[in-house]
Amino acid sequence: MIELKHVTKKYGTVTALEDVSFRVEKGQTVGLLGRNGAGKTTALNVLTGYFPPTAGDVLLDGMSLREHPRECKRRIGYLPERPPLYDEMTVTEYLDFVCELREVAANARKKHIQEILELCGLEEHRHRLLGHLSKGYRQRTGIAQALCGSPDALILDEPTAGLDPAQTVETRALIRALGKERTILLSSHILSEVQQICTHAVILKNGKVARAMALDAREAETQLRVTAAGDGKRIQKALRETEWVEKAEIVGTGPDGAVTFRVSGKRPEGNPAEQVFMKMTEKGIPLRELREEQDSLEEIFLKDTE
């Protein structure tokens, strides 16, 4: 589990992060979202110990990064925005160096590197110089180095930035595969990517957490906009009697006396709109409008960051 606890980071007089707190539970894949300059990269750099926070702390499985930097760093694999590669080394030499840095036992290193090469699809390129690799393979090598030492948590900063569509698809598939066994926190500008890969999202705005939410839960929730004519309280009661409805809030009243509700609840097995329609018919309430209303991640992002 990774936790940022009241983290503030200042660069001189500029505050890049202000009292940021959020948790990434074991096994979750969390997308860190935000506009340019929102503090995503700063948050990741603080989290990986690249630089210390001005205030607050980072906890890894309850252990303080400030107090136990060596232990904590051993548990994190980090892919920065620009993969930290030494162009004059071959892929294998480089991974061997990173394994040694991450204190992988010498007798286990060869097997470990072989597994990483297979996982990242780098076997054919193992003897190539890093300086000669294409951008996609450099990115893969960057992910491969983050896997050295089998860290529990992976921190990926814009893992698909600058890749062509085919490479992007491959990298996403790789991250999804890695997410089955590890805790992953990744930053991205591409909301559809976060939607595809992540189970949760944290939205940053001007160095503060604007929202932390479960993407699965968002998928599992249904929201309808219902407009009906009649007494508002009677309509509300009828809506609440519908099996799946948890909340029915009045959002407006029309000049003709029609009342509009936002109805939400856990997505039922059947069609939610049909169930509301049946209930209204049963109660003899004339419906004026019934439509599904779902905030997309884009809408949420724009609302939170505007």
């Binding site: 110990g49 930097p69 760093k73 930290p84 030494y86 840095l101 991450r102």
Partner: protein, 234 residues
């Protein structure tokens, strides 16, 4: 630290830097050997070693320019600083790699000693002291230049800064005899790495000289670590 030392040492020879350093060092020292020893039919090795020591001033920047500045420029420092290795471990590992190449260069000049030993007389104890001073002086220059590599944003800037600082030390040495005020001359003599080396060249095992060279190197290593730590916190 050992991991960093190994990588940097290999790094010198993955790239042309190590070969350029050794090539230029051996070429210039061969010329000096010809002029001081062969042409004059002399066995004056201390004189030869004294002249070789000026090569540290010229070539130490080649060894140190990439060590920290390039990590910063290419952002590979993110790999090192987020790994379980401590900052002192990183700095000392890099420093020891540079010192290893420097010691290798000094060791290769043993071929010249061998030539003198075949055709003349060599005093091993005196020669060992000469070489000790020679290598310690190189270690001191390397530590100062490593600090400047940590301050610079690119290897080229690091090289220019280091060369300038080395020249300044040399100029200070030239001023020792030119300065009229006694206290100023004394102060310059105290600071000068070249003046400290005089005792070693005369075959005297100067503990003050050893202490000064080692302290000089240690101060710059501590400054390098402090500067990098400060940069992280900023």
């Amino acid at each position: 630290m050992k991991t960093i030392w190994k990588r940097e040492l290999k790094g010198y020879f993955y790239s042309p830097v190590g070969y350029v350093f050794l090539g230029v060092f051996l070429t210039v020292s061969s010329v000096l050997f010809y002029m001081e020893i062969l042409r004059q039919r002399s066995g004056d090795l201390p004189q030869f070693i004294g002249e070789m020591s000026y090569l540290w001033m010229l070539l130490s920047p080649v060894l140190t320019m990439r060590l920290l500045a390039e990590e910063k420029q290419k952002k590979t420092d993110q790999l090192l600083l987020t790994s379980p290795v401590s900052l002192p471990g990183i700095v000392i590992g890099k420093y020891l790699a540079a010192v290893t190449v420097l010691a290798l260069a000094a060791a290769l000049t043993g071929l010249f000693v061998l030539v003198v030993a075949i055709y003349g007389t060599v005093f091993p104890a005196e020669l060992a002291v000469n070489y000790l001073g020679f290598v310690l002086q190189g270690c001191a220059f390397t530590a100062m230049d490593l600090f400047l590599s940590g301050c610079a944003g690119t290897p080229m800037v690091a090289a220019v800064l280091a060369f300038g600082a080395n020249m300044l030390l040399w100029v200070m040495d030239l001023l020792v005899n030119a300065v009229q005020a006694g206290w100023a001359a004394e102060a310059l003599r105290f600071i000068s790495l070249y003046q400290r080396n005089e005792a070693f060249l005369m075959g005297q095992l100067s503990f003050a000289g050893i202490l000064y060279d080692l302290s000089f190197a240690a101060v710059f290593l501590v400054l390098t670590i402090a500067h990098l730590e400060q940069r992280r916190v900023r």
